[in-house]
Amino acid sequence: MNPSNDNRDINLDGRVFIPIENSAGGVVDDRTEFHFTQVGEQFQAVYSGGDIAQGHIIGRFSHNRTAQLLYHCITKNDALKAGRAEAQFTLSDDGQISMALDWVWVSGGEGSGASKYIEVVEAAQHR
């Protein structure tokens, strides 16, 4: 980890995302909220809502706007699932971050897909 590297132009710390698109076979939907924290190149998120009882992400940036991540969750049907994904981040002209995932299940599910998420903008981030 390199905690002093804050030269990248995206930082997920304190940001909240919601899904706006997901492939069939995915389990999150627009009722699921993802709350991120980040230190250096590494980040985590907890997520819940919709069909998800609890979920967790760990990941790290590999390039400025690309990251690799692992995720696991317990659904409200008590199913344990886990997967990995590559994330691509984009930044709007208004500072809003979007995240696109190419994901694949590695346990508890089969197949792969793509999903997109958008940041929920909160006043405190923009003081």
Partner: protein, 207 residues
């Protein structure tokens, strides 16, 4: 220019009521809030500088920019639009190589682009300060939020400013960024009513 880059040694960030977004133990953040945020700025170049700083924040936390602000001001010649407008490819490479700033090519190019538009507007006889302040009728909008979280993230005024600046070709000027800019430069007084600076920012004088 109303840009404060160092916290004076005698600054006392004692525990006084402040807006909820200010971490009370962060001296730099407290000083920025107490002495700069929400204080009306009328100087056109100072407004340009703040506009660029808010654009640099896109995707990041404001404290990241605040902590690097000295580096930014040195690297970008104080965000003086007359100087930045003359930057060429060698300046872009110099900035991309500067570890003290945000090394984003899109933000560097946007800063140079925006400086050139600022100069063009002035050459057309447009006073950048009057132009921006007109979006709030020339005087600060006075809000009375009990808590900072009650404040919106954008407003009809920031939407209108965004539309107008984008039409002129400015980059990183969405309505959320511009609402934060308008708060910071005192066009909108969004200090919470219990904040010790709220009353001091009730500047209703017109330009």
């Amino acid at each position: 220019m109303n840009v404060l880059t160092h916290v004076p040694e005698d600054y006392d960030h004692a525990d006084v009521p402040r807006c909820g977004w200010v971490p009370p133990t962060d001296r730099l953040y407290c000083y920025y809030h107490d002495s700069e945020w929400g204080r009306p700025i009328r100087d056109p170049k100072a407004l340009f500088s703040k506009l660029i700083q808010d654009g640099q924040q896109a995707g990041l936390a404001w404290i990241t920019i605040l902590r690097k602000r000295d580096n930014f001001l040195k690297a970008y010649d104080g965000f003086d639009p007359d100087i930045v407008a003359q930057y060429d490819e060698s300046d872009v490479l110099r900035l991309l190589d500067n570890k003290g700033i945000i090394r984003s090519k899109s933000k560097i190019n946007a800063t140079i682009n925006n400086a050139r538009i600022y100069v063009q507007m002035r050459n057309e006889g447009v006073d950048f300060s009057e132009y921006l302040w007109d979006f709030v009728g020339g005087a600060p909008i006075q809000n009375s939020w009990a808590e900072f979280k009650d404040a919106p993230v954008k407003s009809p005024e920031s939407e209108a400013m965004s539309k107008a600046l984008k039409k002129r070709g400015f980059k990183f000027v969405g309505p959320v960024i511009l609402y934060a800019f308008m708060q910071a430069v005192g066009m909108i007084n969004d200090h919470s009513t219990d904040c010790h600076v709220h009353a001091a920012c009730q500047d209703t004088r017109k330009v």
